[in-house]
Amino acid sequence: MPHISLNNLSISYGNHKVLHEVSVDIPDSQITVIIGPSGCGKTTLLKSLNRLLDLNDDVSVKGNVLIDGVNTYDPKADVLSLRKKLGFLSQRPYPLPMSIYDNIAFGPKVHRLTQEQIVQQIRDLEGRSFQVPERKNGAMDVLVESYLRLAGLWDEVKDRLRTPASRLSIGQQQRLALARALAVEPEAILADEPTSALDPLSAQLIEKQFKFLRNNYTIVVVTHILRQARRIADYVIFLYLGELVEHGPAESFFKSPKDERTRAYISGEIS
């Protein structure tokens, strides 16, 4: 069973309908890219998965989103643990108002992980046992380092872990956000145009990191950059004016699109 699947999902803001009856299964351990012109509901679809839509007033949601078989929109659903399963990167990164170190340690600390749980988490991540340093917070130090490495940021920040995260460049902030999201052990990463505020080199680093992570995480990326979709996608979902037009494995999607609108979008006739 797929981790994430959508059934007849319709979403509207007030009277404005944004998504019409979208049904799709998001494949595990692959990069799924949601593409489409601006304002076609890509971000709404993404944020419906972890209920960040709740931050909006007047949203109404019909249909359901199943995460590991649990309907996210069930009134009895445990939203906090559902959100914890889905890491999230926003368009512009937001470093939490604390040090680089604390940005990573924040999630595990808020979720009150014990020393043993931290050690176990690092073991699961690294796939090997290791020596916990004797000093205070030794295990947390190792955890922070592991996730900074996983996000490809360690070498750039290892000498200034205690400086405020806001001093990092915006590209580094986005990788910090990735490390922070990974540190609460999600099963999937949702990214909302994660490179749109970044310079080309930083964008490349993020893409590289996604490709590196795809074996262990389900990754869903919203983008309006077609070339980016071609570079990273394993699976593509194409939305047009709130409607799911076509979805399928990247290769067949780009080589032999079935729908007229997909063809027009890929060839650049509509954007």
Binding site: L52, S90, P93, V110, H111, V184
Partner: protein, 296 residues
């Protein structure tokens, strides 16, 4: 073309002139107050004026200590009562409430902020003073109700709209990404508020408190009506007090035949101005320090 250039230079001149004018007023007031206080400073020392508790204008004895203490205590009570409530309401409106409800409350808060202080004073006399009297009796300290506590409560009510609306504005300027990034970690709204929203807006919260403080410290009419106006150091919440603004408002223009009285009241005004100015400056320095640390 010529006309347009002329208009541009005219506009620039006017803009500069207004700026100079606005800033000059502050200096003119400060200089005037200082000049006017010189007679009393020539007669007594500054430390005596600030620390003496004896207030006998007819004997030329001007001790400002009771007034200074009264002002500080009334303001402190007001801030202690209002800051937590205002911050919590602003948090509720910003993070929990529906947009329409927020809009409605904003309107109410703006109306509250615009009510003339004499009306707050009247409400204080009608409602707060009797309440404080009953409370005092219940707690075993008989009081007329015209007291430090009544003044503090009425001031707290008056500064609440200011602190609430500034704090709310500050919370709303925090980008959506802050909420999305933190909530996505699976934390509760309260954890987000505590660790992210409040920390990110430390700057603005301090600004809100400074604005509230400045308003409370200089507020005259409403406090004067409920605080009792007895020039003695208040020993309990139920004792009457006599804050500086009330002293000036009650006496200026009436007791001018007494030598040095005029100068003494000017001295009171100078203290008010210096304290409010100093507090703003202090807050500014704290902000600079926070900024240098770089978390906000």
């Amino acid at each position: 073309m010529k006309v347009r250039r002329f208009k541009d230079s005219l506009a620039t001149t006017f803009i500069r002139a207004s700026l100079v004018f606005v800033n000059a007023i502050a200096f003119v007031i400060a200089i005037t107050l200082f000049m006017k206080t010189r007679p009393i400073l020539a007669k007594t020392t500054l430390s005596h004026l600030l620390s003496s508790t004896s207030w006998h204008p007819l004997r030329g004895d001007f001790g400002f200590f009771p007034f200074i203490i009264g002002t500080l205590e009334v303001t402190a009570i007001a801030m202690i009562l209002s800051i937590p409530v205002c911050l919590l309401s602003a948090i509720y409106l910003s993070e929990y409430a529906h947009g329409r409800f927020r809009g409605f409350v904003r309107l109410v808060v703006d109306i509250l902020a615009g009510i003339p202080s004499v009306i707050y004073g009247l409400c204080g006399v009608i409602a707060i003073v009797p309440l404080v009297r009953i409370l005092g009796q219940a707690l075993g300290s008989p009081t007329t109700g015209y007291s430090l506590l009544a003044g503090g409560i009425i001031l707290a009510i008056m500064v609440s709209p200011v602190i609430t609306s500034v704090a709310l504005e500050v919370f709303r300027t925090i980008p959506r990404a802050a909420r999305e990034n933190s909530l996505a970690l699976g934390i509760t709204t309260w954890e987000m508020v505590k660790h992210v929203i409040l920390r990110s807006s430390l700057h603005g919260i301090i600004a809100a408190i400074v604005l509230g403080f400045a308003r409370a410290f200089g507020e005259t009419m409403a406090v004067l009506m409920v605080v009792g106006n007895v020039p003695k150091v208040p020993l309990s919440l139920f004792d009457p007090a006599y804050p500086l603004p009330a002293l000036i408002a009650n006496n200026y223009g009436e007791m001018m035949s007494i030598p040095l009285y005029d100068s003494a009241l000017m001295f009171a005004a100078l203290i008010l101005m210096v304290v409010v100015g100093g507090f703003s400056l202090g807050a500014h320095l704290i902000l600079l320090k926070i900024e240098r640390r770089g978390y906000v």
